[in-house]
Amino acid sequence: MPLSSADFAAIWLTFKLASLTTVILLVIGTPIALWLAHTRSRLRGPIGAIVALPLVLPPTVIGFYLLLAMGPHGYVGQLTQAMGLGTLTFSFAGLVIGSVIYSMPFVVQPLQNAFTAIGPRPLEVAATLRANPWDCFFTVVLPLARPGFITAAILGFAHTVGEFGVVLMIGGNIPEKTRVVSVQIYDHVEALEYAQAHWLAGAMVVFSFLVLLALYSSRKSQSTWS
């Protein structure tokens, strides 16, 4: 068996982390993307830039600030301690928070593009047909933006799977809690266990390729709003 039980634990943990992160991001990313797509507020630029920051920042920067913020002296850390939750560093919950921040633009931007492409007209039409805003969201926006949601979910999931720097900075490499595949690969390479590193790294390459293949081949011509 080329992969150890520790490797499988890392794979399972990574899957859990990426799934949970994706679900959370779809839930909180959707209103952000809706707002960004439709607002005329002056805050649109700054908020859009903040959401996009993880695209350009090195993960170590995000990890470093999270380590400080979630630590016992940081604002987040003091809040979570006051709530009786302790600190979030070295925990799965902490990784989820880090991943949500780190993968945010990969979910928000495809959604925002989808909402922008839909434009305000279908929402106006639905309103004149007596649909309240929630009704309108579920019966018009959601179905029309479906390709955007699929892209967002795939990219969010895949990008979280590929996360390394943030986990390294705040994870503490705890088996079954914070030791994800990318860190496990790093460990193997550091310990000169090249055979195991190859198996995991190769699996990552195959996985990433399949994900992107699915994404690009599913992008058929979307029905346009007429």
Binding site: R121, P122, E124, V125, A126, A127, T128, L129, R130, A131, N132, P133, D135, C136, T139, V140, P143, L144, S223, T224, W225, S226
Partner: protein, 362 residues
């Protein structure tokens, strides 16, 4: 006036402002007419609540939809209106039937006054129900859009240049359906348009807008014949006449109409219609010629006696516009200044007019 629509709107963006206060009839078709940029679409969107004017009062018959003084603003989805956009804006992810049902399902059963089968029949889309919107022609899409709006049983139908995106063939295909709506349903309609022909054909009442302000508001017949409005200046300027069918000549396929409050009649080429039915015709100013005597021997069918009311300069120096009256029915004639001087036209003078052609509207 018992049933009526009151609209007061004030709003301004950079470079555009809208400031109007109109009372409109609570039934029939009212056209909001003007050039692009005159504010007619904005006005319609404010009435629908799609846009929010800073100062506004919108009352449709007995319902107040917006009153900025008491901070009342009924959200769009709670206003009983149907809105037809310039492009049909069908939901591409739903079939024609599901598009029609979208609004219908959101109306309480006891408040439904239009049934799906009836609306589909009225607009001639019954055979399209199971199709996807992107397999329809532009005209078919617009008809589905209209049926979809009707199925919410609205108390007011707002139509924003529903024919503007269509070519003339599609327009011709859809106009009869709009006329049937007008005839069969008792829903007041606000119809935005910049086409005089459409307005003449469909509207009972017209509001003339220019740069965000109301230039004129009144019944279609009088308003189109007013010499003080830019309406009379256009090449397609003309009036709408309503007459009552009093005879049909099967041999020549000619229908005879009696003008209101008058013994005078006009004849038009048309299919047979029941005696007593009213018919609207449009007479273009450029199709009327004037003479001092009755011209008996001519290919021109209609020769009527009228009184000269006044005149105004036309957009071209060789022409004048003359307003005429036949027992309360206003008419416009576009003649040369030379002819005017030859005939020595004076207000109050009785004169003969010949109508070269008559377009039957409805």
């Amino acid at each position: 006036m018992s049933a009526q629509i009151n609209v007061r709107l004030q709003l301004s963006y950079s470079g555009f402002s809208l400031d109007l206060d109109v009372q409109l009839p609570g039934k029939g078709v009212t056209a909001l007419f003007g050039h692009s940029g005159s504010g007619k679409t904005t006005c319609l969107r404010c009435i629908a609540g799609l846009e929010r004017a800073n100062q506004a009062f919108v009352q449709i018959n007995d319902e107040v939809w917006q009153d900025s003084q008491s901070n009342l603003f009924v959200p769009v989805h709670k206003r009983s209106l149907g809105y037809i956009f310039q492009e049909a804006s069908l939901f591409p992810h739903l079939s024609v039937r599901a598009n029609l049902e979208f609004g219908l399902r959101r109306i309480l059963r006891e408040q439904r006054r239009v049934e799906l089968a009836h609306a589909a029949d009225l607009l001639g889309i019954t055979h399209l129900l199971e199709r996807a919107p992107n397999h329809l022609s532009g005209g078919e899409r617009q008809r589905v859009g209209i049926a979809r709006a009707l199925l919410t049983s609205p108390k007011l139908l707002l139509m924003d240049e529903p024919l503007a995106a269509l070519d003339s063939q599609r327009k011709a295909e859809i106009l009869p359906y709009l006329e049937r709506l007008h005839a069969e349903l008792d829903i007041p309609v606000l119809y935005v348009s910049h086409s005089q022909d459409e307005v003449a054909r469909l509207a009972d009442h017209i509001v003339l807008l220019s740069e965000g302000k109301v230039l004129a508001s009144g019944p279609i017949g009088e308003t189109l014949a007013r010499l003080d409005l830019p309406l009379s200046q256009g090449d397609d300027a003309g009036v709408v006449i309503q007459g009552e069918v009093c005879d049909y000549d099967a041999r020549y396929h000619l229908l005879t109409l009696q003008l209101p409050h008058s013994a005078q009649r006009i004849r038009v080429a048309h299919a047979p219609l029941a005696i007593g039915k009213t018919l609207r015709v449009k007479v273009q100013a450029r199709d009327i010629s004037l003479s001092l005597n009755r011209n008996e021997h001519s290919s021109i069918l209609n020769s009527l006696q009228a009184t000269v009311i006044g005149e105004t300069a036309a957009d071209n120096q060789a022409h004048v516009l003359v307003r005429l009256d036949i027992a309360g029915t206003a008419l416009l004639a576009r003649i040369t200044r030379y002819s005017r001087d030859q005939l020595d036209l004076q207000p109050g003078q009785t004169i003969w007019l010949q109508i070269k052609s008559v377009a039957v509207l409805a």
